[in-house]
């Protein structure tokens, strides 16, 4: 029934998700939520990759392999991010990004 769901729909979806994630990284104060927004952006890119892979090069799996690598790198990135946030929390008892301001200009 949804046969004419085309490439553009996926691209628009992923662009919207990417924009939401980008807004979150810029506007949110909680460092964990910023990390979650970055994750959202990565997944938006994954949608783009898989959609292109399905519609542009249906006979190849390049885009999907790319997406798998992105997922793995994202996992490593988040693990690293949470570790650093924990180290910050030990120091200032807060993960509010606006309070992490020892150095400016």
């Amino acid at each position: 029934m949804l046969n004419n769901l085309g490439l553009e729909h996926y691209l628009v979806l992923s662009a919207i998700l990417f924009a939401i994630g980008l807004y979150g990284t810029l506007a949110k104060r909680n460092a964990i939520i910023i990390l979650m927004c970055i994750e959202l952006m990565l997944n938006a890119v994954n949608i783009t990759l898989v959609a292109f892979s399905r519609y542009v090069t249906p006979e190849l799996l390049t885009g999907q392999i790319f997406a798998i690598f992105v997922i793995i790198v994202a996992a490593a990135e988040i693990a690293m991010g949470v570790a650093i946030i924990l180290a910050i929390y030990r120091g200032i008892e807060s993960i509010d990004a606006t309070k992490i301001n020892l150095m400016k200009w």
């Binding site: 029934m1 949804l2 046969n3 004419n4 798998i68 997922i71 793995i72 996992a75 490593a76 693990a79 949470v82 570790a83 924990l86």
Partner: protein, 123 residues
């Protein structure tokens, strides 16, 4: 184009009707005095399975869970690579096997590291 969304609209209407129906039935039954109405504290308490909660739900989790998550994450990531390899085991042959063994060795070094750093012990 729009017609395709008609199905979604139908589903939406069906869902709303069904939900309303399910909410109305017990109210109607009580109104018709078919269901007895005698409340007590146990009946009025929040319906929840398991133990009653103690204290607030916004507690900090023990720091050590983080290491467990990391150890789990390593396996998780390993599995993502193992599945595609396992599916095309025969085509990839011996070079694929060697690659996977290298990957497992790297993860294994990670586990040795975790073990020597006493992450696996609960202090």
């Amino acid at each position: 184009m729009i017609a395709n969304y008609g199905y979604i609209g139908l589903f939406l209407i069906a869902v709303i009707l069904f939900t309303l129906l399910m909410v109305t039935i017990p109210i109607a039954l009580r109104f018709l005095r078919i269901v007895p109405d005698n409340p007590n504290p146990v009946k009025n308490s929040i319906f929840e399975c398991g133990m009653e909660t103690i204290g607030k739900t916004w507690v900090q989790f023990n720091f050590h869970y983080y290491f467990y998550v990391l150890i789990f994450l390593a396996l998780d990531v390993l599995v993502i690579f193992l599945y595609p390899w396992a599916v095309s085991l025969r085509q990839l042959g011996i070079s694929g096997l060697i690659t996977i063994l290298i990957l497992i060795t790297i993860i294994f070094v990670g586990y040795i590291y975790a073990w020597r750093k006493k992450v696996l012990e609960w202090k």
